[in-house]
Amino acid sequence: MRSLRLQLFTGILAILLAAGVTVMLSSRAQMEQALIAAESRSAGNVLQMIELQVSNRYRDLLREKLRIVTERRAMLERMSSVTAAALLAHARLARHGIASEGQARALAMAYLRDLRPGGAVEAFAMSRQGHVLAHAAPDRIGRDIGALTDIKGRSLLAAVRDDIARDGHAHVVWDAPGAGERDGRRFAHFVDVPQLDLYLGVSDGIGDVERFVEAGVEATIGFLGEMLREVQVVDSGFVFLFDEDLAPITPPADWAAPLLGQRDAATGRPVMALFREAGARGDGAALRYTLQQGDTALEMEAHVSHFRPLGWYIVSTVPAVEIARPAHLLIARQVQIFALVLAVALLLAWAFAATLTGPLQRLTGYARALPERDFTAGVGAAGPLQRLARSRSEVGGLARAFRFMEDELRDKIAALIRTTREKERIESELSIARDIQNGLLPKIFPPFPDIPQIDLHAALHPARHVGGDLFDFYFLDDRRLLFTVGDVADKGVPSALFMAITKTLVKSASAQEDDPARMMARVNDDLSADNPRAMFVTLFIGLLDLHSGRVAYVNAGQNPPLLRPAAGAARFLRGLSGPPGGAMEGVRYRPLTLQLAPGDTLLVYTDGITEAMNPEQQEYGNDRLLRCCEAGRGADAAGLVNALLTDVRHHCRGAPPSDDLTLLCLTWHGAASGAATQAGAPAQTVAPVEGG
């Protein structure tokens, strides 16, 4: 089906598909990239968030630690200041002579021995060589603490001496020998007491501060563990932390935990090592690696961040397919929506094509039904098109054109019917006219079967319905036969009328005159009398004496008659009597005579015979007429006439006759009764005698 509707529909379908596919193809790659980037970024964001959480918590922890330490230090400084003042008071005893220097020193040492500030705080005196001089715990006295190493790696004595030399006091931190930093770390404030030649130190154990920090970190890990269990990157992606030794701090997702020990297929290196390297690079670039899960190779993407203060690595990793999944989902959704929109649009397009082609189908139906329409009915049959014609669209224009065409057709057909009726009327009148004209001609052949002296036959074939040719013959008395052949100029009804008049005039003239020339003059005068259109008739009038075979005749413009003697060659009778009848008034016609021998045949014809044209515009001609007449010897008059007409028809080969064809053939068989030919002199034209 190559209907317009289908074509329209196909066109719309093609446009929609082209637009949809173009939009989808062009946007697909971009959209996919954008979505993957977004997913990737969100994985990175999770990482940053975790990192931020870790660093915030760690900063809070450090801040708290600093606060505690600062507080302790202030306390130690206050205490060492008070204690130093007490030591100075003892030294002053010796200066003021209240006690000897030794006594004063012993008193000061005793004071320190008795000093118990409480908690882990201890006050003690250290000699210039680093030995404990006084301490609340007697077993400590005498110990060489100057040889201890502080946490910066200096000897305690050197640290104290240098700092006091520079700042006037010293802060030193060290770990007690035999104990870790958690239990044995001590923080001490030293001042110089030159009056007693010793250093005063007040120390406090700060293991609890370290323990506080550790607890804080533990809490952070616990919190992260809780939180990360909840965090899900896309579907099965996860975040986990591990330390410098690749030991997990928070556990990875259950499904991945057994796989992370694998080596990456591409690089051949342990996955965890790859994580650590990516974290150490710190460029934030995504790391691609492969996990082998059963038989399937799982493409993974990871972002790793390194939190240096704690030596932690935070890993956010997700299967690569899942990153692209939202993009694929969106594209699938887009395709679904497009398919839906396409379906709806195609439904609409189908309906639209129907509204467009429906009117065309109606018009087609209308046009098909047109030939069966009755155009003679006056009512506008374009009724079905009325609604269409009101439309301003092109189809409306077409409908209007159709309606216009139908109206025009109706008018034209009505006119055609009128003219056809008129024509039929004229045709029938012409047919009647022909009947009347035929009625004017003798119709009974052979006309004189009882008169053996003559054999006469005539025929008239009009070129149109009515013609201007005529022939006639009748006896004026028992021995004189009058025969006439005429040809009125032009053809049609006027000629036919003129022909009828001529025939009547000949008849009346033949009743009044004896000589054909006089008859002709009379006919001519009557015809010329009132002839505004200058109609004229070429006329031959002959008068045969049955007894003598003598023919008196007149030829007024008629083609030369043909004489075929019984003995001798056929020839034309060239004698001319005058112009055609009606051409000129008052003409005197020259009478002509001809003596027939028995068996002689006279043929009178109109120019329709000799001028009959074949399709090559060649005339039948005099020569062929002569030949045909010669060939027709042996036939009677009727036979010769028919032979001639047949020959003319052969010559014309279907070309329509341009003029009436009229022939009159007369054979005189001699005066004696019976058809026996009588030997005699050959016919000859008698010298013309001037008609009277």
């Binding site: 100029a489 032009d490 053809k491 007024a556 030369p560 001319l576 009597s577 112009p579 341009s658």
Partner: protein, 116 residues
């Protein structure tokens, strides 16, 4: 149907000359008559009809010539035919019209006859 009849009008002094080419039969005689009417409407003193270019003339054409001749006679205009070929001449001779019309051999002779 493209009818093969055409005319060329000319004027020599007070004499109108009509050159006729083609065929005159029942179908074209009407146009021949109209053309002659047009020529005579200018009231020429003489009329020469040159039939040299004519290949055929039927009785319908003869009738037109006859009408024209009568009209010329009534209006005092002399009419001369010229340039009759053998075929046309035969038509005139057979029909006896040679005796009715003033016929010259050539156009020059015709105009000379009118002006002389």
């Amino acid at each position: 149907m493209p009818d093969n009849l055409s005319f060329t009008r000319d004027q020599e002094g007070a004499t109108a000359v009509l050159d006729v080419q083609g065929r005159i039969d029942s179908a074209t005689a009407g146009r021949f008559e109209q053309e002659l009417d047009g020529v005579l409407a200018a009231r020429p003193e003489g009329l020469v009809i040159d039939l040299a270019g004519l290949s055929y003339m039927s009785s319908a054409g003869l009738r037109v010539l006859l009408v024209t001749a009568r009209r010329c006679q009534a209006e005092g205009c002399a009419m001369v035919l010229c340039g009759l070929g053998a075929t046309i001449r035969e038509v005139f001779d057979i029909s006896g019209f040679s005796a009715i019309f003033d016929i010259a051999e050539t156009r020059a002779e015709a105009t000379a006859r009118l002006n002389g």
